[in-house]
Protein backbone atom coordinates (compact mmCIF):
# COMPACT_ATOMS: atom_id res chain seq x y z
CA UNK A 1 0.00 0.00 0.00
CA UNK A 2 1.15 3.55 -0.77
CA UNK A 3 0.11 6.84 0.76
CA UNK A 4 -0.08 10.33 -0.71
CA UNK A 5 -0.07 12.92 2.06
CA UNK A 6 -0.80 16.62 1.76
CA UNK A 7 0.23 18.42 4.94
CA UNK A 8 -0.76 22.01 5.76
CA UNK A 9 -0.18 23.01 2.15
CA UNK A 10 0.01 26.73 1.34
CA UNK A 11 0.44 27.76 -2.30
CA UNK A 12 0.85 30.95 -4.33
CA UNK A 13 1.21 31.66 -8.03
CA UNK A 14 4.96 32.07 -8.57
CA UNK A 15 4.65 35.12 -10.82
CA UNK A 16 2.26 36.86 -8.41
CA UNK A 17 4.06 36.76 -5.04
CA UNK A 18 2.17 39.82 -3.80
CA UNK A 19 -1.20 38.12 -4.27
CA UNK A 20 -2.90 36.13 -1.55
CA UNK A 21 -2.38 32.38 -1.19
CA UNK A 22 -4.64 30.21 -3.30
CA UNK A 23 -4.27 27.24 -0.98
CA UNK A 24 -4.35 28.11 2.71
CA UNK A 25 -3.48 24.99 4.65
CA UNK A 26 -4.77 21.90 2.89
CA UNK A 27 -4.58 18.57 4.70
CA UNK A 28 -5.49 15.39 2.85
CA UNK A 29 -4.37 11.77 2.82
CA UNK A 30 -5.09 9.46 -0.11
CA UNK A 31 -4.15 5.79 0.18
CA UNK A 32 -3.98 3.29 -2.64
CA UNK A 33 -7.25 1.41 -2.76
CA UNK A 34 -9.22 4.62 -2.14
CA UNK A 35 -11.10 6.98 -4.42
CA UNK A 36 -11.48 10.54 -3.17
CA UNK A 37 -13.69 13.14 -4.79
CA UNK A 38 -12.87 16.84 -4.43
CA UNK A 39 -15.77 19.19 -4.99
CA UNK A 40 -16.41 22.86 -4.50
CA UNK A 41 -17.21 26.11 -6.29
CA UNK A 42 -15.09 27.45 -9.14
CA UNK A 43 -11.95 29.39 -8.31
CA UNK A 44 -11.42 27.94 -4.85
CA UNK A 45 -8.17 26.05 -5.45
CA UNK A 46 -9.12 22.54 -6.58
CA UNK A 47 -7.10 22.62 -9.80
CA UNK A 48 -4.28 24.45 -8.03
CA UNK A 49 -4.08 21.58 -5.56
CA UNK A 50 -3.85 18.97 -8.33
CA UNK A 51 -1.30 21.00 -10.31
CA UNK A 52 0.81 21.68 -7.23
CA UNK A 53 0.89 18.01 -6.27
CA UNK A 54 2.02 17.17 -9.82
CA UNK A 55 4.70 19.88 -9.71
CA UNK A 56 3.50 22.52 -12.16
CA UNK A 57 6.29 25.14 -12.05
CA UNK A 58 3.66 27.89 -12.12
CA UNK A 59 2.91 27.33 -8.43
CA UNK A 60 5.01 28.03 -5.37
CA UNK A 61 4.64 26.08 -2.14
CA UNK A 62 5.12 28.57 0.71
CA UNK A 63 4.41 26.18 3.59
CA UNK A 64 3.62 22.52 4.21
CA UNK A 65 4.61 19.37 2.37
CA UNK A 66 3.54 16.77 -0.19
CA UNK A 67 4.73 13.24 0.52
CA UNK A 68 4.49 9.83 -1.10
CA UNK A 69 5.20 7.06 1.40
CA UNK A 70 6.84 9.57 3.71
CA UNK A 71 9.20 10.98 1.06
CA UNK A 72 8.75 14.67 0.28
CA UNK A 73 8.15 15.48 -3.41
CA UNK A 74 8.67 19.23 -3.09
CA UNK A 75 12.21 19.25 -4.46
CA UNK A 76 11.38 16.92 -7.34
CA UNK A 77 10.61 18.21 -10.86
CA UNK A 78 7.42 17.14 -12.55
CA UNK A 79 8.92 14.21 -14.48
CA UNK A 80 10.43 12.70 -11.33
CA UNK A 81 7.07 12.99 -9.55
CA UNK A 82 5.45 11.18 -12.46
CA UNK A 83 8.00 8.39 -12.19
CA UNK A 84 7.37 8.29 -8.43
CA UNK A 85 3.81 7.22 -9.24
CA UNK A 86 1.75 10.37 -9.81
CA UNK A 87 -0.47 11.06 -12.80
CA UNK A 88 -2.49 14.16 -13.58
CA UNK A 89 -5.40 13.89 -15.98
CA UNK A 90 -5.51 17.47 -17.17
CA UNK A 91 -8.38 19.79 -17.79
CA UNK A 92 -6.67 21.21 -20.89
CA UNK A 93 -4.21 18.67 -22.31
CA UNK A 94 -1.57 20.21 -24.61
CA UNK A 95 -1.55 19.46 -28.35
CA UNK A 96 1.80 18.40 -29.78
CA UNK A 97 2.39 17.83 -33.49
CA UNK A 98 5.09 15.52 -34.79
CA UNK A 99 4.68 13.03 -31.95
CA UNK A 100 2.17 10.25 -32.39
CA UNK A 101 -0.02 9.20 -29.53
CA UNK A 102 1.44 5.68 -29.57
CA UNK A 103 5.03 6.93 -29.65
CA UNK A 104 4.36 9.24 -26.72
CA UNK A 105 2.67 6.61 -24.54
CA UNK A 106 5.46 4.15 -25.26
CA UNK A 107 8.03 6.78 -24.25
CA UNK A 108 6.09 7.40 -21.03
CA UNK A 109 6.08 3.68 -20.18
CA UNK A 110 9.75 3.34 -21.03
CA UNK A 111 10.64 6.35 -18.88
CA UNK A 112 9.62 4.16 -15.93
CA UNK A 113 11.72 1.20 -17.01
CA UNK A 114 15.49 0.76 -17.07
CA UNK A 115 17.28 1.36 -20.40
CA UNK A 116 18.04 -2.34 -20.79
CA UNK A 117 14.44 -3.40 -20.14
CA UNK A 118 12.27 -1.28 -22.45
CA UNK A 119 8.81 -2.57 -23.31
CA UNK A 120 8.88 -4.83 -26.39
CA UNK A 121 7.04 -3.18 -29.25
CA UNK A 122 4.63 -6.05 -29.93
CA UNK A 123 3.66 -6.33 -26.29
CA UNK A 124 3.11 -2.58 -26.18
CA UNK A 125 0.94 -2.49 -29.31
CA UNK A 126 -1.16 -5.40 -28.11
CA UNK A 127 -1.76 -3.67 -24.80
CA UNK A 128 -2.51 -0.36 -26.53
CA UNK A 129 -5.01 -1.95 -28.94
CA UNK A 130 -6.82 -3.69 -26.10
CA UNK A 131 -6.99 -0.55 -23.96
CA UNK A 132 -8.20 1.58 -26.86
CA UNK A 133 -10.90 -1.00 -27.56
CA UNK A 134 -12.01 -0.80 -23.90
CA UNK A 135 -12.30 2.97 -24.24
CA UNK A 136 -14.08 2.59 -27.60
CA UNK A 137 -11.46 4.69 -29.34
CA UNK A 138 -10.97 4.29 -33.12
CA UNK A 139 -7.69 2.54 -33.97
CA UNK A 140 -6.33 5.49 -35.96
CA UNK A 141 -6.08 7.58 -32.79
CA UNK A 142 -2.86 5.72 -31.96
CA UNK A 143 -1.16 7.14 -35.04
CA UNK A 144 -2.56 10.65 -34.84
CA UNK A 145 -0.40 13.38 -33.40
CA UNK A 146 -0.78 13.82 -29.66
CA UNK A 147 -4.12 15.54 -28.98
CA UNK A 148 -3.73 17.42 -32.26
CA UNK A 149 -7.18 18.21 -33.59
CA UNK A 150 -8.82 15.94 -31.00
CA UNK A 151 -12.27 16.99 -29.88
CA UNK A 152 -12.80 17.85 -26.21
CA UNK A 153 -14.22 14.39 -25.57
CA UNK A 154 -11.40 12.65 -27.44
CA UNK A 155 -8.82 14.50 -25.36
CA UNK A 156 -10.44 13.36 -22.11
CA UNK A 157 -10.62 9.80 -23.34
CA UNK A 158 -6.98 10.05 -24.36
CA UNK A 159 -6.06 11.13 -20.83
CA UNK A 160 -7.72 7.97 -19.50
CA UNK A 161 -5.94 5.89 -22.15
CA UNK A 162 -2.61 7.21 -20.86
CA UNK A 163 -3.69 6.54 -17.28
CA UNK A 164 -4.55 2.93 -18.08
CA UNK A 165 -1.34 2.35 -20.03
CA UNK A 166 0.99 4.01 -17.50
CA UNK A 167 -0.69 2.47 -14.42
CA UNK A 168 0.28 5.10 -11.85
CA UNK A 169 -0.16 4.64 -8.11
CA UNK A 170 -2.09 7.88 -7.74
CA UNK A 171 -4.21 9.57 -10.39
CA UNK A 172 -5.32 13.17 -9.98
CA UNK A 173 -8.19 13.69 -12.40
CA UNK A 174 -9.02 17.34 -12.97
CA UNK A 175 -12.56 17.74 -14.30
CA UNK A 176 -12.24 14.67 -16.43
CA UNK A 177 -16.02 14.85 -16.95
CA UNK A 178 -16.26 18.39 -18.29
CA UNK A 179 -17.56 18.63 -21.82
CA UNK A 180 -18.43 14.93 -22.06
CA UNK A 181 -21.71 13.59 -23.35
CA UNK A 182 -23.35 10.83 -21.35
CA UNK A 183 -21.86 7.97 -23.42
CA UNK A 184 -18.36 9.39 -23.23
CA UNK A 185 -18.81 9.92 -19.49
CA UNK A 186 -19.79 6.28 -19.05
CA UNK A 187 -16.70 5.14 -21.03
CA UNK A 188 -14.31 7.40 -19.12
CA UNK A 189 -15.79 6.15 -15.83
CA UNK A 190 -15.41 2.56 -16.99
CA UNK A 191 -11.70 3.20 -17.62
CA UNK A 192 -11.17 4.67 -14.15
CA UNK A 193 -13.16 1.89 -12.46
CA UNK A 194 -11.01 -0.72 -14.18
CA UNK A 195 -8.00 0.80 -12.43
CA UNK A 196 -9.61 0.45 -9.01
CA UNK A 197 -7.79 -1.95 -6.75
CA UNK A 198 -5.35 -2.15 -3.86
CA UNK A 199 -2.52 -0.61 -5.95
CA UNK A 200 -4.44 2.44 -7.18
CA UNK A 201 -5.66 5.58 -5.47
CA UNK A 202 -7.34 8.59 -7.04
CA UNK A 203 -8.35 12.15 -6.33
CA UNK A 204 -11.16 13.14 -8.65
CA UNK A 205 -12.00 16.81 -9.05
CA UNK A 206 -15.51 17.43 -10.30
CA UNK A 207 -18.36 19.88 -10.12
CA UNK A 208 -21.03 17.32 -10.71
CA UNK A 209 -22.53 14.50 -8.76
CA UNK A 210 -23.24 12.84 -12.13
CA UNK A 211 -19.66 11.53 -12.49
CA UNK A 212 -19.84 10.11 -8.97
CA UNK A 213 -22.86 8.01 -9.94
CA UNK A 214 -20.46 6.15 -12.22
CA UNK A 215 -17.31 6.29 -10.11
CA UNK A 216 -18.53 5.89 -6.54
CA UNK A 217 -16.03 7.57 -4.22
CA UNK A 218 -14.97 6.34 -0.79
CA UNK A 219 -14.56 9.92 0.43
CA UNK A 220 -15.91 13.28 -0.66
CA UNK A 221 -14.18 16.55 0.26
CA UNK A 222 -15.41 20.07 -0.25
CA UNK A 223 -12.90 22.83 -0.91
CA UNK A 224 -13.68 26.49 -0.38
CA UNK A 225 -11.34 29.47 -0.16
CA UNK A 226 -8.28 27.26 -0.42
CA UNK A 227 -9.19 24.88 2.37
CA UNK A 228 -10.99 21.60 2.74
CA UNK A 229 -14.01 22.56 4.82
CA UNK A 230 -15.96 19.36 4.86
CA UNK A 231 -15.32 15.63 4.39
CA UNK A 232 -17.79 12.80 4.18
CA UNK A 233 -18.73 9.67 2.29
CA UNK A 234 -20.43 9.31 -1.10
CA UNK A 235 -23.68 10.61 0.40
CA UNK A 236 -22.11 14.07 0.89
CA UNK A 237 -21.95 14.57 -2.87
CA UNK A 238 -25.63 13.70 -3.18
CA UNK A 239 -26.48 16.18 -0.44
CA UNK A 240 -24.48 18.95 -2.15
CA UNK A 241 -26.33 18.28 -5.38
CA UNK A 242 -29.50 19.35 -3.56
CA UNK A 243 -28.20 22.16 -1.38
CA UNK A 244 -25.31 23.68 -3.37
CA UNK A 245 -22.19 25.06 -1.70
CA UNK A 246 -23.40 28.46 -0.51
CA UNK A 247 -24.54 27.38 2.95
CA UNK A 248 -21.12 25.94 3.79
CA UNK A 249 -18.91 28.03 6.02
CA UNK A 250 -16.12 29.96 4.36
CA UNK A 251 -12.55 29.12 5.28
CA UNK A 252 -10.98 31.19 7.99
CA UNK A 253 -8.31 33.56 6.70
CA UNK A 254 -4.74 32.36 7.28
CA UNK A 255 -5.96 29.33 9.17
Amino acid sequence: MSTLEIKDLHVKVKDEPAHAEILRGVNLTVKTGEIHALMGPNGNGKSTLAETIMGNPRYLVTQGDILVDGQSLLELPVDARARAGLFLGMQYPAEIAGVTNAEFIRAAINARRPDDDQIPIMQFLKQLDATMATLEMPADMADRYLNQGFSGGEKKRNEILQLMMIQPKFALLDEIDSGLDIDALRIVAKGVNLQRGPEFGSLIITHYQRLLDYIVPDFVHVMKDGEIIETGGAELAKELEKTGYSHLKAGEPNA
Partner: protein, 334 residues
Protein backbone atom coordinates in the same frame (compact mmCIF):
# COMPACT_ATOMS: atom_id res chain seq x y z
CA UNK B 1 27.74 42.36 -70.88
CA UNK B 2 24.38 43.66 -69.62
CA UNK B 3 23.97 44.69 -65.97
CA UNK B 4 21.58 42.47 -64.02
CA UNK B 5 19.95 43.30 -60.70
CA UNK B 6 20.96 41.44 -57.53
CA UNK B 7 17.94 39.74 -55.87
CA UNK B 8 16.62 41.44 -52.75
CA UNK B 9 17.71 39.39 -49.74
CA UNK B 10 17.47 41.57 -46.62
CA UNK B 11 20.08 40.80 -43.95
CA UNK B 12 21.72 38.15 -46.14
CA UNK B 13 25.11 39.23 -47.56
CA UNK B 14 24.38 37.90 -51.06
CA UNK B 15 26.65 40.36 -52.87
CA UNK B 16 29.55 39.22 -50.71
CA UNK B 17 28.82 35.56 -51.44
CA UNK B 18 28.69 36.31 -55.18
CA UNK B 19 32.32 37.48 -55.07
CA UNK B 20 33.42 33.99 -54.07
CA UNK B 21 34.60 31.45 -56.62
CA UNK B 22 32.04 28.76 -57.40
CA UNK B 23 33.02 25.07 -57.38
CA UNK B 24 32.64 23.33 -60.74
CA UNK B 25 29.14 21.88 -61.18
CA UNK B 26 28.15 18.36 -62.25
CA UNK B 27 25.12 16.61 -63.70
CA UNK B 28 22.37 15.54 -61.32
CA UNK B 29 20.97 12.00 -61.23
CA UNK B 30 17.34 11.61 -62.26
CA UNK B 31 15.13 8.58 -61.89
CA UNK B 32 11.72 8.93 -63.54
CA UNK B 33 8.92 6.98 -65.22
CA UNK B 34 9.68 6.30 -68.92
CA UNK B 35 7.38 8.95 -70.40
CA UNK B 36 9.37 11.64 -68.60
CA UNK B 37 12.37 12.69 -70.69
CA UNK B 38 15.72 13.74 -69.24
CA UNK B 39 18.13 15.55 -71.53
CA UNK B 40 21.02 17.95 -71.45
CA UNK B 41 19.20 21.24 -71.64
CA UNK B 42 19.98 24.79 -72.63
CA UNK B 43 20.79 27.25 -69.89
CA UNK B 44 17.80 29.21 -68.60
CA UNK B 45 17.59 32.93 -69.30
CA UNK B 46 19.75 35.04 -67.04
CA UNK B 47 17.76 37.68 -65.15
CA UNK B 48 19.92 38.43 -62.11
CA UNK B 49 23.49 38.52 -60.88
CA UNK B 50 22.74 35.28 -59.02
CA UNK B 51 21.71 33.59 -62.30
CA UNK B 52 24.91 34.92 -63.85
CA UNK B 53 26.97 33.46 -61.03
CA UNK B 54 25.19 30.11 -61.19
CA UNK B 55 25.41 29.81 -64.98
CA UNK B 56 29.00 30.90 -65.46
CA UNK B 57 31.57 28.50 -67.01
CA UNK B 58 28.81 26.81 -69.01
CA UNK B 59 28.31 24.04 -66.48
CA UNK B 60 25.87 21.26 -67.49
CA UNK B 61 22.13 21.86 -67.19
CA UNK B 62 19.83 18.87 -66.84
CA UNK B 63 16.37 19.29 -68.34
CA UNK B 64 13.39 17.22 -67.21
CA UNK B 65 10.30 17.27 -69.39
CA UNK B 66 7.05 15.97 -67.92
CA UNK B 67 4.62 15.59 -70.83
CA UNK B 68 1.19 17.17 -70.90
CA UNK B 69 -1.48 14.97 -69.33
CA UNK B 70 1.10 12.86 -67.47
CA UNK B 71 -0.34 11.37 -64.29
CA UNK B 72 1.57 9.31 -61.78
CA UNK B 73 2.06 9.03 -58.06
CA UNK B 74 5.51 7.51 -58.63
CA UNK B 75 7.85 10.38 -57.85
CA UNK B 76 10.42 11.80 -60.22
CA UNK B 77 13.57 11.48 -58.12
CA UNK B 78 16.38 13.94 -58.50
CA UNK B 79 19.65 13.53 -56.61
CA UNK B 80 22.35 16.18 -56.41
CA UNK B 81 25.99 15.31 -57.24
CA UNK B 82 28.07 13.97 -54.34
CA UNK B 83 30.74 16.65 -54.46
CA UNK B 84 29.40 19.45 -56.65
CA UNK B 85 26.48 21.75 -57.23
CA UNK B 86 24.12 21.36 -60.18
CA UNK B 87 21.60 23.04 -62.44
CA UNK B 88 18.21 21.66 -63.40
CA UNK B 89 15.27 22.91 -65.45
CA UNK B 90 11.92 21.14 -65.18
CA UNK B 91 8.91 21.71 -67.37
CA UNK B 92 5.60 20.18 -66.41
CA UNK B 93 3.15 20.08 -69.32
CA UNK B 94 -0.49 21.11 -69.23
CA UNK B 95 -2.78 19.17 -66.90
CA UNK B 96 0.05 16.89 -65.85
CA UNK B 97 0.02 15.56 -62.32
CA UNK B 98 3.46 14.83 -60.93
CA UNK B 99 5.36 14.27 -57.70
CA UNK B 100 8.92 15.65 -57.59
CA UNK B 101 11.45 14.75 -54.95
CA UNK B 102 14.94 16.20 -54.84
CA UNK B 103 17.69 15.30 -52.39
CA UNK B 104 20.95 17.18 -52.04
CA UNK B 105 23.71 15.95 -49.74
CA UNK B 106 26.50 17.43 -51.83
CA UNK B 107 29.86 18.32 -50.32
CA UNK B 108 32.24 21.06 -51.47
CA UNK B 109 33.56 24.52 -50.72
CA UNK B 110 31.24 26.91 -52.57
CA UNK B 111 28.37 25.22 -54.34
CA UNK B 112 25.98 26.75 -56.83
CA UNK B 113 22.60 25.07 -57.12
CA UNK B 114 19.79 26.17 -59.42
CA UNK B 115 16.42 24.57 -60.08
CA UNK B 116 13.91 26.21 -62.42
CA UNK B 117 10.43 24.68 -62.50
CA UNK B 118 7.63 25.70 -64.86
CA UNK B 119 4.05 24.48 -64.49
CA UNK B 120 1.82 24.52 -67.57
CA UNK B 121 -1.86 25.41 -67.30
CA UNK B 122 -3.86 23.08 -65.06
CA UNK B 123 -0.81 21.13 -63.90
CA UNK B 124 -0.56 19.85 -60.34
CA UNK B 125 2.87 19.44 -58.77
CA UNK B 126 3.76 18.15 -55.37
CA UNK B 127 7.41 19.09 -54.84
CA UNK B 128 9.54 17.91 -51.98
CA UNK B 129 12.97 19.45 -51.56
CA UNK B 130 15.34 17.88 -49.07
CA UNK B 131 18.54 19.84 -48.54
CA UNK B 132 21.18 18.16 -46.41
CA UNK B 133 24.26 19.79 -47.93
CA UNK B 134 27.57 18.81 -46.40
CA UNK B 135 29.28 21.70 -48.22
CA UNK B 136 30.87 24.63 -46.40
CA UNK B 137 28.90 27.25 -48.30
CA UNK B 138 26.13 27.04 -50.91
CA UNK B 139 24.06 29.48 -52.87
CA UNK B 140 20.81 27.81 -53.79
CA UNK B 141 18.15 29.25 -56.03
CA UNK B 142 14.87 27.52 -56.76
CA UNK B 143 12.24 29.15 -58.91
CA UNK B 144 8.72 28.01 -59.67
CA UNK B 145 6.57 29.63 -62.36
CA UNK B 146 2.96 28.59 -62.01
CA UNK B 147 0.55 28.80 -64.97
CA UNK B 148 -3.20 29.29 -65.12
CA UNK B 149 -5.19 27.09 -62.73
CA UNK B 150 -2.05 25.13 -61.92
CA UNK B 151 -1.33 24.10 -58.34
CA UNK B 152 2.04 23.79 -56.65
CA UNK B 153 2.36 22.22 -53.22
CA UNK B 154 5.99 22.59 -52.18
CA UNK B 155 7.79 21.53 -49.02
CA UNK B 156 11.42 22.43 -48.39
CA UNK B 157 13.26 20.64 -45.58
CA UNK B 158 16.47 22.54 -44.84
CA UNK B 159 18.64 20.21 -42.79
CA UNK B 160 22.00 21.26 -44.20
CA UNK B 161 25.30 22.04 -42.54
CA UNK B 162 26.30 24.76 -44.97
CA UNK B 163 26.27 28.50 -44.61
CA UNK B 164 25.02 30.71 -47.41
CA UNK B 165 21.71 31.64 -48.92
CA UNK B 166 18.65 29.85 -50.22
CA UNK B 167 16.27 31.74 -52.49
CA UNK B 168 12.85 30.23 -53.00
CA UNK B 169 10.87 32.13 -55.56
CA UNK B 170 7.35 31.42 -56.74
CA UNK B 171 5.73 33.40 -59.54
CA UNK B 172 2.00 32.98 -60.01
CA UNK B 173 1.73 33.99 -63.66
CA UNK B 174 -1.57 32.44 -64.76
CA UNK B 175 -5.11 33.30 -63.67
CA UNK B 176 -6.16 31.07 -60.78
CA UNK B 177 -2.63 29.80 -60.13
CA UNK B 178 -2.12 28.48 -56.61
CA UNK B 179 0.97 27.72 -54.56
CA UNK B 180 1.74 26.74 -50.99
CA UNK B 181 5.36 26.81 -49.88
CA UNK B 182 6.25 25.18 -46.58
CA UNK B 183 9.78 25.56 -45.26
CA UNK B 184 11.21 23.74 -42.23
CA UNK B 185 14.82 24.55 -41.30
CA UNK B 186 17.09 23.18 -38.60
CA UNK B 187 20.16 25.38 -38.11
CA UNK B 188 23.01 24.30 -35.85
CA UNK B 189 26.70 24.70 -35.07
CA UNK B 190 28.23 27.87 -36.47
CA UNK B 191 25.98 27.86 -39.52
CA UNK B 192 25.01 31.25 -40.93
CA UNK B 193 22.16 30.73 -43.33
CA UNK B 194 19.46 32.86 -44.85
CA UNK B 195 16.23 31.92 -46.57
CA UNK B 196 14.43 34.37 -48.76
CA UNK B 197 11.09 32.95 -49.76
CA UNK B 198 9.23 35.11 -52.23
CA UNK B 199 5.70 34.69 -53.54
CA UNK B 200 4.51 36.99 -56.31
CA UNK B 201 0.94 37.20 -57.58
CA UNK B 202 1.19 38.37 -61.18
CA UNK B 203 -2.21 37.13 -62.32
CA UNK B 204 -5.82 37.52 -61.26
CA UNK B 205 -7.33 35.26 -58.63
CA UNK B 206 -4.00 33.71 -57.80
CA UNK B 207 -3.37 32.36 -54.30
CA UNK B 208 0.04 32.09 -52.66
CA UNK B 209 0.88 31.01 -49.11
CA UNK B 210 4.25 30.82 -47.37
CA UNK B 211 4.77 28.98 -44.08
CA UNK B 212 8.32 28.96 -42.67
CA UNK B 213 9.48 27.29 -39.45
CA UNK B 214 13.03 27.37 -38.16
CA UNK B 215 14.80 25.89 -35.15
CA UNK B 216 18.19 27.31 -34.16
CA UNK B 217 20.71 25.70 -31.83
CA UNK B 218 24.34 26.28 -30.93
CA UNK B 219 25.78 29.51 -32.30
CA UNK B 220 23.86 29.30 -35.55
CA UNK B 221 22.22 32.27 -37.21
CA UNK B 222 19.09 31.78 -39.29
CA UNK B 223 17.38 34.49 -41.28
CA UNK B 224 13.88 34.06 -42.68
CA UNK B 225 12.75 36.65 -45.17
CA UNK B 226 9.24 36.26 -46.50
CA UNK B 227 8.42 38.50 -49.44
CA UNK B 228 4.80 38.59 -50.54
CA UNK B 229 4.14 40.73 -53.60
CA UNK B 230 0.85 41.36 -55.39
CA UNK B 231 1.46 43.26 -58.61
CA UNK B 232 -0.93 45.77 -60.10
CA UNK B 233 -3.69 44.05 -62.03
CA UNK B 234 -3.66 40.81 -59.98
CA UNK B 235 -7.17 41.48 -58.74
CA UNK B 236 -8.88 39.00 -56.45
CA UNK B 237 -5.55 37.55 -55.34
CA UNK B 238 -4.52 36.28 -51.93
CA UNK B 239 -1.02 36.35 -50.44
CA UNK B 240 -0.34 35.08 -46.92
CA UNK B 241 2.80 34.31 -45.00
CA UNK B 242 3.90 33.02 -41.63
CA UNK B 243 7.51 33.00 -40.40
CA UNK B 244 8.28 31.39 -37.06
CA UNK B 245 11.63 30.84 -35.43
CA UNK B 246 12.41 28.85 -32.28
CA UNK B 247 15.64 29.69 -30.44
CA UNK B 248 17.24 27.03 -28.28
CA UNK B 249 20.57 28.44 -27.21
CA UNK B 250 22.01 31.57 -25.69
CA UNK B 251 24.24 32.17 -28.74
CA UNK B 252 21.63 31.25 -31.34
CA UNK B 253 20.40 34.12 -33.49
CA UNK B 254 17.20 34.29 -35.46
CA UNK B 255 15.52 36.80 -37.73
CA UNK B 256 11.98 36.61 -39.08
CA UNK B 257 11.30 39.39 -41.57
CA UNK B 258 7.91 39.48 -43.24
CA UNK B 259 7.65 41.85 -46.17
CA UNK B 260 4.43 42.58 -48.01
CA UNK B 261 4.33 44.63 -51.22
CA UNK B 262 0.81 45.31 -52.39
CA UNK B 263 0.21 47.20 -55.63
CA UNK B 264 -3.44 46.26 -56.12
CA UNK B 265 -6.54 47.15 -54.12
CA UNK B 266 -8.95 44.29 -54.55
CA UNK B 267 -6.85 41.64 -52.76
CA UNK B 268 -6.32 39.90 -49.42
CA UNK B 269 -2.91 39.63 -47.79
CA UNK B 270 -1.51 38.95 -44.36
CA UNK B 271 1.56 38.01 -42.40
CA UNK B 272 2.59 36.66 -39.03
CA UNK B 273 6.05 36.37 -37.56
CA UNK B 274 7.51 35.31 -34.24
CA UNK B 275 10.75 34.42 -32.53
CA UNK B 276 10.02 32.18 -29.56
CA UNK B 277 11.37 29.66 -27.07
CA UNK B 278 10.21 26.13 -26.29
CA UNK B 279 6.52 26.05 -25.32
CA UNK B 280 6.38 25.58 -21.54
CA UNK B 281 2.85 24.16 -21.46
CA UNK B 282 3.81 21.45 -23.94
CA UNK B 283 6.97 20.61 -21.98
CA UNK B 284 5.00 20.36 -18.75
CA UNK B 285 2.43 18.07 -20.30
CA UNK B 286 5.04 15.64 -21.67
CA UNK B 287 7.06 15.70 -18.45
CA UNK B 288 3.94 15.07 -16.37
CA UNK B 289 3.94 11.60 -17.96
CA UNK B 290 7.50 10.96 -16.77
CA UNK B 291 9.49 12.03 -19.85
CA UNK B 292 12.80 13.70 -19.00
CA UNK B 293 13.29 17.39 -19.78
CA UNK B 294 15.70 16.47 -22.56
CA UNK B 295 13.38 14.02 -24.31
CA UNK B 296 10.34 16.26 -23.80
CA UNK B 297 12.25 19.20 -25.32
CA UNK B 298 13.21 17.16 -28.37
CA UNK B 299 9.59 16.15 -28.94
CA UNK B 300 8.29 19.71 -28.55
CA UNK B 301 10.89 21.01 -31.00
CA UNK B 302 10.08 18.26 -33.45
CA UNK B 303 6.44 19.29 -33.21
CA UNK B 304 7.33 22.89 -33.93
CA UNK B 305 9.23 21.97 -37.10
CA UNK B 306 6.56 19.49 -38.09
CA UNK B 307 4.26 22.42 -38.82
CA UNK B 308 6.58 23.23 -41.74
CA UNK B 309 7.05 19.61 -42.77
CA UNK B 310 3.50 18.28 -42.37
CA UNK B 311 3.11 17.57 -46.08
CA UNK B 312 5.91 15.01 -46.07
CA UNK B 313 4.12 11.67 -46.04
CA UNK B 314 7.03 9.38 -46.99
CA UNK B 315 7.63 7.57 -43.66
CA UNK B 316 11.28 6.76 -44.43
CA UNK B 317 12.14 10.38 -45.14
CA UNK B 318 10.13 11.56 -42.16
CA UNK B 319 12.04 9.17 -39.91
CA UNK B 320 15.33 10.42 -41.34
CA UNK B 321 14.33 14.02 -40.67
CA UNK B 322 13.19 13.23 -37.11
CA UNK B 323 16.43 11.32 -36.52
CA UNK B 324 18.46 14.30 -37.72
CA UNK B 325 16.48 16.58 -35.39
CA UNK B 326 17.07 14.23 -32.45
CA UNK B 327 20.80 13.87 -33.16
CA UNK B 328 21.30 17.59 -33.65
CA UNK B 329 19.49 18.36 -30.41
CA UNK B 330 21.33 15.67 -28.44
CA UNK B 331 24.57 17.34 -29.54
CA UNK B 332 23.14 20.74 -28.74
CA UNK B 333 22.35 19.72 -25.18
CA UNK B 334 25.60 17.80 -24.66
Amino acid sequence: MPEFPTPSTPKIPLARYLKQVKDAGAAVTVSAPTSVTVTAGPAPTTTSTLDQWLLQDGQPVTHIEVPAGFTSETPVLLTGPATAGGLVTIHVGENAHVVLQETWKSAGTMLGVGVWLTLGAGATVSWLTYDAFAAKTALVQRTATVGADATLNWTIAGFSQNSGASLITTDLVGTGAQATVNVGVLASGAQHIGYTTAMTNRARKSVGHINQRGVITGAAHLIFNGIGHIVQGARGSDNQQENRVLMLAQKARGDANPILLIDENDVTAGHAASVTRVDKAQLYYLMSRGLSLELASRLVIRGFLEAGLAEITDPTLKQELFKTIDETLVNAYA
